[in-house]
């Protein structure tokens, strides 16, 4: 197992946010964490990345408790793409280069610059390498953040709503690229998502959170309309369109 989440609970100001969350992830898996707003999806990602310390339970990354790792070691193992946007006056190249921080002692070396160039090329961003990020759109910034996580060369990618600011073309491109990277390089990825159809299309595993608990977890082929209705409180149907399962809400 590349990631083993065992009985993780998190309490914020005596309000329980996560309760006994358990799941495991193998190399090559891309897990979509699904659930309504405020159910604890982002909190779960932060607990995995040790940004927050669980009040109970453990997060094992390749068998080691993440809280026992040095912060630099965590950053070399886990790449985290946050939801927040940024607007510092840096070029795209330098903003992505920041992802090499866990490897840089004093100054970036040739290898670091080469890795950034390669990541920008993978994301078709090399033409904007010298643009300042405070002049970029939300979608472009999201790609910068994903590129930065990639250059950390992590084993696990955590993506908090990675496609929320992306147009349709960029959503497909980015998620296809993430899926390719995860499967080809034996990594794992955990994404929080609101778009069920995107999750069904690109993830190979799902985890429904309801009231801070795991409602169900499994392969995306097992997602049913009943599950979605129970978690979101909205009747839906799942149709197959061109071989892809597609969720259609029934209520107006």
């Amino acid at each position: 197992m590349i990631l083993d989440i065992c009985d993780v609970s998190f309490t914020y100001n005596s309000h329980p946010v996560l309760k006994d969350v358990c799941f495991q992830l193998k190399p090559g898996e891309l897990l979509a964490i699904l659930g309504p707003n405020g159910v604890g999806k982002t909190t779960l990602l932060k607990c995995i990345d040790a940004i927050l310390s669980p009040s109970k339970g453990s997060v094992l990354v390749q068998g080691t408790d993440v809280l026992k790792l040095q912060s630099n070691e965590i950053a070399k193992t886990i790449g985290y793409v946050a939801q927040q946007s940024e607007s510092s006056r840096m070029t795209v190249f330098d903003a992505v280069l920041m992802g090499r921080k866990p490897y840089i002692r004093w100054n970036a070396g040739e290898k670091d610059l080469q890795i950034v160039d390669a990541a920008l090329k993978r994301l078709n961003m090399e033409h904007m390498a010298l643009r300042y990020i405070d002049q970029m759109s939300g979608g472009e910034l999201q790609k910068v953040a994903i590129a930065r996580a990639m250059v950390q060369e992590p084993k696990i990618l955590l993506l908090d709503e990675p496609t929320s600011s992306l147009d349709l073309k960029n959503q497909v491109e980015i998620l296809s690229m993430i899926r390719h990277v995860v499967t080809e390089h034996g990594m794992a990825a955990v994404m929080t998502m609101h778009d069920l159809n995107t999750a069904l299309r690109f993830a190979n595993a799902y985890l429904f959170l309801k009231d801070g608990k795991v409602y169900d977890v499994g392969g995306v082929e097992h997602i049913s309309s009943e599950m979605i209705e129970t978690v979101y409180g909205l009747p839906v149907e799942i149709h197959s369109i061109h071989g892809h399962p597609t969720v259609v809400p029934l209520a107006c």
Partner: protein, 356 residues
Amino acid sequence: MHLEDGHIPAEYTRYIGRKLAILTILALLLIGALLVAISLGAAHVSIPDVVKSLLGMSVSKRTDIIIWQIRLPQALTAMVAGSGLAIAGAVMQSILRNPLGSPFTLGISHAAAFGAAFSVMLLGSGVMGSSQAGSISITNPYLTTGAAFICSLLATGMIIAVSRLRGATPETMILTGVALGALFTAGTMFLQFFADDVQLAAMVFWTFGDTARASWNELGILTGVTTLASLYFMANVWNYNAIDAGDETARGLGVRVDSMRIAGMLVTSLVTAVIIAYLGIIGFVGLVVPHMVRRILGGDHRFLLPATILLGALLLLVSDTVARLILAPHILPVSVLTAFMGAPLFMYLIIRGYKK
């Protein structure tokens, strides 16, 4: 993940080269400004004579005394104070994620002013004066300086204590700083209300930042503290870049954000407190210089911090020289000039478009 098939783009190499060229130009301008600053004054000394004297080739005893005893320490003090205040401002703006970050934002300057007023009024340290203002005598400058320094550190300690209690967020630090600034200002006004004419004059005089107050001894202390602080800041450029991208992103990159914020604030406060304690309050350098550099070089701290050191030194050196000459034979405290220059400059930067 295999990402080693890239190469270093030529445009990026040229882009970095341009930044290094700007740093070199700033360094050359600073050296030029230093020579000009030393040559100008009531007694004019030619630049070749300045160079000769600085290289140890004595021109005349009189020239050597003017250069080594009066102008060089003052010019170097201006450079060191300018660079220290500017880099402290740049780091404060980064760790507080606030474009108004400066010693004033956190109430450090106000605390120092209160300390000086307290010393003058209650510790009887008398009138602290400038070596270039002959009519004002110095009775106990070290007591005034010490009190200002202690009060600056007290303000810093209080901000850190509240940050420990409520979390080291920029909001907590800034709001605590604003509250402390108001508290220390009220304390200073209270003391001023009960002060006699001489004490009041001394209190007000102390707040005029003046580079002529420092001798070689004080310059040594200022240089030591500023150099060590700058080395610490330069060692953390990647951490400041990461914090600029947001706390969560920084944590994801392995930065211990809260510790970095508290340590950064402690060091910026220390360097600011030492400068203010010895020279008085010199406003706007810490606020304006980082913004000027960001417009020229961007927000990458690898270049922002060295350029801020150089431009801060250059700006205060030029301001100090102009302040010495503009109303000759009267000598204007440099803080008056920096405030006159800084406010319109800051407004210009706002109108041209603010970029953090």
